[in-house]
C-alpha cells in the first residue's frame, strides 16, 4: 500500500515537473501564440493587445499556476488555434493513438516472444546466420520508411486498405483497426527484432547457468526447463525493455501517423507546438508523461510478480 502511494506521488510529481519544463521551454523559443493567431495580419499593436486579452503578458509562474489549477480541476483550457476546449479536441486522438500503441504492443509481444525462444534454442548454422541478418535489417530500417513501403505494398499494389481513408473509430471500429494494423506493423517490426535478439541472448546466457545443468541432469527435458525455469528469469529484463518500448512506440507513432495519414496525438503535438498553442501542448505533454511513467510502473509490478526477490526493496 505504502509502495503504491509512493508510486502515485512519483507519477504526479513527474507530470508536474514535465509540464513545468514544457511551459518554460515554450517561453524560451521565439514566436508566441498571439503572432501565431494573427498570422500575417500581425502588427506590434495588435499582437500586444491580443497578448493582453489572452493573459500572456503576465509572469510565467502566474500563468503556470493558473494552468495547474485548471488541470487539477479538470479544465484543460481552450485551444488557441481551434478555439475549442482542448479535451474535446484531443480525446478522439488519444483514443486513436492508444489503439495504435496497443495494437503495436500486442503485435510485438505475440510475435517476438515465441520467435525469441525459438531462435534461442537453435543456435549456429546457416539458418541462424540468415536469421541474424534479417534481424539486423529489421532493426536498422526506421518505421517511417517501413511505413511508406507497407503503404505502397498493401494500399497501392494490393489494395487491402485505402490509404488516406481512415474510418472513425467510433463508427467503424473493425475498419479502423484494420487500417491501424498496417501502421502498427511498421512500428512493431524494429521493436520485434530488438526484443527477439534480447530474449535470445538473455535466454542463452541463462541456459549456461549451473541450475539449468542441474535441472537437466536430474532428467528434465530441455524444453521443460526452458519454459518452467529459464523463461521466468530471462523475462525480467525483457519486461523492462517492453515497458520502454511502450513509451517509444508513442514517440515513433508521431512519424508513422503522418505517413499513414492517421489523425493521432503525435501529429497534434507537432503542429500545436509550431502553432504555439500552449493549452494543447501542455495537455498532450502531460498525457505522454503519464503514459511513460505508467508503463514503467506496470513493468515494475509485473517484474515483481515474476521475480519475488524484487519485492524486497520497495514493498516490505
Amino acid at each position: 500500500m505504502k509502495y503504491a502511494a509512493k508510486r502515485i506521488a512519483m507519477l504526479l510529481l513527474t507530470m508536474v515537473i514535465v509540464s513545468l519544463l514544457a511551459f518554460v521551454a515554450f517561453d524560451l523559443i521565439s514566436g508566441d501564440p498571439a503572432t501565431a493567431m494573427l498570422g500575417t495580419e500581425a502588427t506590434p499593436e495588435k499582437v500586444a493587445a491580443l497578448r493582453e486579452q489572452l493573459g500572456l503578458d503576465r509572469p510565467l509562474l502566474v500563468r503556470y499556476g493558473e494552468w495547474l489549477l485548471g488541470f487539477f480541476t479538470g479544465n484543460l483550457g481552450v485551444s488557441y488555434s481551434y478555439r475549442q476546449p482542448v479535451w474535446d479536441l484531443i480525446a478522439p486522438k488519444v483514443l486513436v493513438t492508444l489503439c495504435l500503441s496497443g495494437l503495436t504492443f500486442v503485435l510485438i509481444v505475440v510475435v517476438s516472444i515465441p520467435l525469441g525462444l525459438r531462435s534461442a534454442r537453435s543456435s549456429g548454422g546457416v539458418l541462424d546466420g540468415a536469421r541474424t541478418m534479417v534481424n539486423q535489417l529489421c532493426m536498422a530500417v526506421p518505421p517511417f520508411f517501413t511505413g511508406i513501403l507497407l503503404s505502397w505494398l498493401f494500399s497501392t499494389l494490393l489494395k487491402w486498405f485505402v490509404h488516406g481513408k481512415f474510418p472513425s473509430l467510433t463508427e467503424d471500429f473493425g475498419g479502423a483497426v484494420k487500417y491501424l494494423f498496417f501502421a502498427a506493423l511498421a512500428l512493431a517490426i524494429p521493436r520485434i527484432a530488438m526484443t527477439v535478439r534480447m530474449l535470445r541472448s538473455t535466454v542463452q546466457g541463462e541456459m549456461q547457468k549451473d541450475y539449468v545443468r542441474t535441472a537437466i541432469s536430474r532428467g528434465n527435458d530441455r524444453g521443460g526447463v526452458l519454459y518452467r525455469h529459464v523463461l521466468k528469469n530471462a523475462l525480467v529484463p525483457v519486461v523492462t525493455f517492453l515497458a520502454q518500448t511502450m513509451a517509444e512506440i508513442v514517440a515513433s507513432s508521431i512519424v508513422v501517423e503522418q505517413v499513414f495519414a492517421i489523425p493521432g496525438l503525435g501529429r497534434m503535438l507537432v503542429t500545436s507546438i509550431s502553432n504555439r498553442d500552449y493549452p494543447t501542448v501542455q495537455a498532450i505533454v502531460v498525457i505522454l508523461a503519464f503514459w511513460v511513467v505508467l508503463a514503467g510502473t506496470v513493468a515494475d509490478l509485473i517484474n515483481q510478480r515474476i521475480d519475488p526477490r524484487l519485492r524486497l526493496g520497495g514493498a516490505a
Partner: protein, 515 residues
Amino acid sequence: MKKRLTAFLLLAALLCAALTGCGGGSTEQTPAEKEPSTPDAPVANEITVGIAQDLDDSLDPHKTVKAGTREVMFNVFEGLVKPTPDGDLTPAVAENYTVSEDRLTYTFTLREGVKFHNGDTVTAEDVVYSINRCAAATETGIVQVEAFSVIQNIAAADERTVTITIAEPSNEFLSYLTVAVLPSDYDKQDTAPIGTGPFKFVSRAAQDSMVLEKFDEYWGTPANLDKVTLKIIENADSLMMSLQSGAIDLCSHLTSTQVAQLGDDFNVAEGTMNLVQAMYLNNAEKPFDDVRVRQALCYAVDKQAIIDIAFDGYGSPIGSSMYPAFGKYFDDSLTNYYTKDVDKAKALLADAGYPNGFEMTITVPSNYKPHMDTAEVLVQQLAEIGVKATIQPIEWESWVSDVYVGRQFQSTVVGVDASTMTARALLERFTSTYGKNFINYNSADYDALFQQVLSSSDDAEQTSLYKQMEQNLTENAANVYIQDLADLVAVRKGLEGVTFYPIYVLDLATIRYAK
C-alpha cells in the same frame, strides 16, 4: 511445451479476433455509408479534397488569418458582393447597389429571401452588424479591416436596405464589402460557422477533416456536389499515396514533381497561385540600404532558370509586386527590366564598395518547399557575382514574429498575396509608414504616388498611378522579384469544373461529375 506455445498463440489469436470481432458489431450500425462504390452502383455525388495544411484556425471568417482556411471557407461565406473568376465583383447578398453622385454614399438593396445556413433570413441588421464587427474589432481575435475606417455612418434603412456613408471617395471601398455577412445573434462562429454560401459547414475534426454539405436553400446557382470532405494530409508522401489509393479526388497546390507521379487517373488543371514570390530585402539593413546592391542582386538572378530548375518550367516570371491575374494593373514590361548580366552586377557591387561581394543570409520558412527550392537556386546564382548567401530555414510562426513583425532579417524568400482583389492590397504595404511594410521600403516618390491614388477618382488615372508605383519598386529594386507560382490541381478523371480566381480560393460549387 509445444502445448504452451500453441496455447499462447491461440490466446493471441483470440485477442485479435475479439478486437476485430466487436468492431464487426458496430459496423453493422452504419451499413449504408460504408458501401464501396462499385462501377454498377450509382456514384455518390460527393468528393474528397486533399489539403496539405491543417485548418487550425478560428472558422469565424472575421477572425480567420490563415490563407488555407480562407481558401476553403470561401464556399461557406459571402459578403454583400463577391469576387468572380475574372477579378470583378458581383452582387451576392446584395441584389444591387447604387453609389451617390459625390461617391460617398452606397445604398445596397438585399436580395429577397437570402437564407443563413440555420434557416434564418438575412436582414439589413445582420449586414450592419457584420460590417461594424470588422470595423471596430473590439471582440478578441477579430481581424480589423482598416479600409472600414473611412465609414462615417452605416445604417439599416429598412429590412432590405443598407446605406453606408464614407468620408472620402474611394474606388476600392466596394471590394472590401466581400467581408462575410453573419447572423447578428449567433456566437459560435469560431467552431460552428454559419454563412450564406453554397455550402454549409457540417463538422471539423482537428488535423483530420472538415465536412461541407450543399446548402439547399442557396439563393443562387446551387452547388453541383452534395457533399465535400476536406481531408487534411500534411505529409507529402502520404498525400501522394492517398491520391493514388483513391481516397482523394482533388488536390490543389501540387508541385511539378508530384504531378509527374500522378498516373492515369488524374487530369491536371493549371492556374496561378496569385502570389508575388520574391527574395524580399530588408531595405533598412546594410548592405541592402544601397540601391546599387539591390540592383546588382536583380542582375544576378535569372528568373526563368529558377522556374525551369526548381519548378519544371511551371510558373510566370514577374518584375514587380503585381501578378498577371490582376489584368489591368499588371505591367508586363517590368518583367524583364533586369536580365541576367553578371558583369553589370559585379560593376554595381564594386561601385557600392563591395568589389569582392559580401555574405548574406536568406531566411526561409522551411515548411514552404517551393520557397526553399527557390532559395537553393538563388544561392547558386548569387555565388556567380561573389555574393555568398546562406539559407536559414525557420519555422513559419517564427518567420511571422521575427521577420514579418520584428523585421529582424536580411533577406527572405516568400510569396505575398492580396487579401482583397485590389491593387492596393499589394502595393500599399510598401509605403514608408505602413504597419506591414516589413522590408522597410522608404521612397518619398512612392508615398506621393500612393497619396495621389487615394485622392484620384478616375479609374484609368488610378490604374496608371498604380503602374507607376510598380515601376518605382522595380527601378529601385525594392526586392528581387521572381515569379507567380503555378497552381497545379490534380482532378480525378470524370470530375470537371475547376475554376481559378485571382485570389487564393478554391471554389467547390462549380465542381461536378461529367455527365
